[in-house]
Amino acid sequence: MIYRSQQLALRYFAASMLLFGVMIAAGLLTSLYYLRVGFLLDVFHFSTAKILHIDTLVLWLLMGFLGSVYWFLPLELEREVEWIGLAQKAFWIFVGTVAAVAATLSFVQYGGTSAASLWLINQGRKYVEAPRWACVLIAAVLVLFGVNVVATALRARRMTGILAVLIADLIPLIVLFLNAFSAEPNMSKDLFWWWWLIHLWVEATWEVFIGCVLAWSLLHLLGASRAIVESWLYVEVAMVLGTGILGLGHHYFWIGTPSYWLGIGGFFSALEPLPLLGMVIHAIYDAGAHRHQILNRPAFAWLLAEAFGNFLGAGVWGFMMTLPQINLFAHGTQWTASHSHFAFWGAYGCAVISVIYLVLQKIRAGRGDFESQAWKWAFALLNIGLVGMSSALLIAGMAQAFYERAIGGSTFQAFLTAQANRWMTEGLQARVLFGLVFTLGYFVLLYDFWKIGKGRRAPETTLRKEASG
């Protein structure tokens, strides 16, 4: 290992994987409230468990993203990242903040009716519930990260296509996070801006970001040609932003916003799967063209999983419910949760894992084959768990759309009737079972991260030295 930035990357990956585990634990806990009436009533709320689940989701992915860039950036510019000392301190601020938020949420849960609660305890806005003080620090860490990237490029007096796209993308990505501080009283306005954060993150800026990271992966994993990879990246950016920016309208159907969004949002978001399909084609093409150069099969398998998962989970599952005629009934049901899980996992979870495998091979190069049985088990268990969970939720969600929304008219009684429906109850049970499969996969993955590439016959003592050195 050469660069300090890359050591920082390893720390980010470790923190990311730890948080991933916290997220899984919180997800399993959340799913149990659906099975038992009065589960932990007045002790630990469903809402708290769910907040822990979805906030750690955002954070482990962000940490994985930062780690990826801190890994690739010095390779791209062939120099140490500027202000890396500050970035190393920022890492601990990030980790400390996340731990403090998790503790606050777990033990305090929520506060009284005052602005102080928003600053110190819980902001109560989905995905960005973390209290304001924490959001200030997270924003600062993100800004410093952006400064690291820009300053290094300036210092190196070099710019590559991938890097230019990344820098241009980081600006809106960070600016949109400012919505995490809002306390707008008017719910329509609140949600209008909130969707700029949520949708324009996951369907625009994050999608471009991960495109850059995967472009670097392809260069390093397959030795693909830079001109081709960069052209693909531009095409992808054109299509993702060309459809995804106005695709925002698929969240403006029912929140008080004018009816022209039904047409605009439906049309543009229906085109959003195209770039994702493009990425699948690209991945298959590269796999064929470079079949003999693949020395890192786990990283490549996860890269393919990303391409397919992004297309299926985001593209196909999203498309299913994106036309207003269907969304009127599918909206805000377990169907939504089905898509959320599949899309986040396919588009971002798999990508982070792929990069971690790529990095592990580099730091353990020359110490035995980069191959194991465990990575295949982890791959199978995680993906079967996730697809099983999403399918169970899809079935539950379709029943809910039908019985609660279409037949029942979405009243309290219709909600309860749908929750008691057998498709629903059994779907939610199956979700827990597949969640357990997923959890098992997580532990195998950790085991494999620890072991793979270290050489099976190496004596214990050298292993330790290698791990610490």
Binding site: V37, L41, D42, H45, F46, S47, T48, K50, I51, Y110, T113, A115, L118, N122, G124, R125, K126, E129, A183, E184, P185, N186, M187, S188, K189, D190, L191, F192, A227, S231, Y234, V235, A238, L241, G242, I245, L246, Y252, F253, W254, I255, G256, T257, P258, L262, I264, L328, H331, G332, T336, A337, G408, G409, S410, T411, Q413, F415, L416, Q419, A420
Partner: protein, 191 residues
């Protein structure tokens, strides 16, 4: 030409610029429509009026119907009082993280019922009897202060230490929420 990455870069830049420009223009109009008192979102003083929700033959959609005066808690709120009440209601909603169990406009969590039209829910008359309240708003206040005493079928809402003033602000918030034009969501509500 297509072998040159710069060709594709110009494409990416122009596609993005055009889309951002259109989004900005539409957003300006939308923000005007959704301010309190705009085309789609009534002023907060709508809490002093009767609110309904019915199929509109002209648009073939369910739409809010605003009627004559119908006081809330027997009071007539001024514009300022109504705004303060709504602001407080929103603060209760955020501090208690209502939308991490419920949805409003279908956005939130899926553990508890959607609240978009909860002010109009046909369940309240029977709840009025159960809570021995004199009115719908009074029944809602009693429920919100002690929800764990009134289990709703297979879901029980936890006690969130909501006091009387908080509960009144929430009821006002929900009444205002039900008056917003939501393009027909939820469909067939209360049929």
């Amino acid at each position: 030409m297509i072998g040159d990455p710069r060709f594709w870069r110009s494409g990416a830049l122009s596609a993005t610029t055009v889309m951002v420009a259109v989004l900005v223009i539409l957003s300006i109009d939308t923000l005007r429509a959704i301010r309190a008192g705009g085309r789609n979102v009534p002023a907060y003083t709508v809490i002093n009026r009767r609110i309904g929700y019915a199929m509109d033959a002209a648009t073939n959609r369910y739409r809010p119907v605003l009627g004559g005066e119908e006081l809330l808690f027997g009071r007539r709120y001024s514009a300022q009082e109504a705004a303060e009440l709504i602001e407080r209601g929103k603060l209760v909603i955020q501090t208690r993280a209502c939308l991490d169990c419920h949805t409003m406009f279908g956005i939130g969590a899926y553990y508890a019922p959607d609240l978009t039209k909860s002010w109009l829910d046909p369940i309240w008359p029977s709840w009025q009897a159960m809570t021995q309240a004199s009115s719908r708003e009074e029944a809602m206040v009693r429920f919100l202060q002690n929800p764990d005493r009134y289990p709703i079928g297979i879901r029980i809402m936890p006690n969130l230490r909501i006091d009387r003033a908080d509960a009144e602000a929430l009821v006002a918030y929900l009444k205002w929420l039900s008056s917003i034009e939501t393009n027909g969501f939820p469909a067939r509500f209360g049929d």
